[in-house]
Symmetry: C2
Subunit: 110 residues, 2 copies
Amino acid sequence: MPAALDLAFAALADPTRRRIVSRLTRGEARVTDLAQPFHMSLNAVSKHVKVLERAGLVRRERLGREHYLHLRAAPLREVARWTSRYERFWNQRLDALEQFLAESKEASDD
Amino acid sequence: MPAALDLAFAALADPTRRRIVSRLTRGEARVTDLAQPFHMSLNAVSKHVKVLERAGLVRRERLGREHYLHLRAAPLREVARWTSRYERFWNQRLDALEQFLAESKEASDD
DNA sequence: GTATTATTCAACCATAAGGTTGAATGTCGA
DNA sequence: TCGACATTCAACCTTATGGTTGAATAATAC
């Protein structure tokens, strides 16, 4: 099995799955509930949930025929931890080349 | 083309590419330099670089026959921004089910 | 000028992703 | 008991991924 970070990043690379994660911050939901806003089959959403589950981002609680999905944010913390190592590079000023490109764009763009 | 976040998350889902990003924090490097630590063909690394480039995580500066790759951390900031929306869920105490599971594991595991 | 170096392009392969449809499983409600 | 509901499983399709090898391109070194 791929490493935890691999699974987390890959799971979050799909917009449908990011919306599901977002949705789950408002509380548990069944697969059917999660599927409701999407223009795709229930089966497709069920697969997305499984990907999130494998990445540890979702926990499933079976109650009779209904499965209640809960957010598990721990993997998100790992993603954030990895990402934050690059924080000091975010605010670096644009280097000469990028400035040049930005300026020519300004000049030709209006 | 997929959305920026899609590309960034997907690019970071591969451990080789995460190591390349990490390597580039120590300064620019050529494709050959980047490939050196990996047990894979130069071509494979060249493809990884292209994925990072498409995600905006790497900028390429051609100087003669050599291509110098630079880190561009902006997409990482977007990833961090998205992820941090879930910060308040990270430290949530384990819920009843997880506690139960953790405890039965402890009890049966030694 | 010719060989060497740096890199990409192109074709190929195996496997995974994201979707579909249709059938199976299991639970609830009357 | 029987039908409806919630969900998954299985098979399939198309496209993407991550790797390979071999050839092409372009710049440098001698």
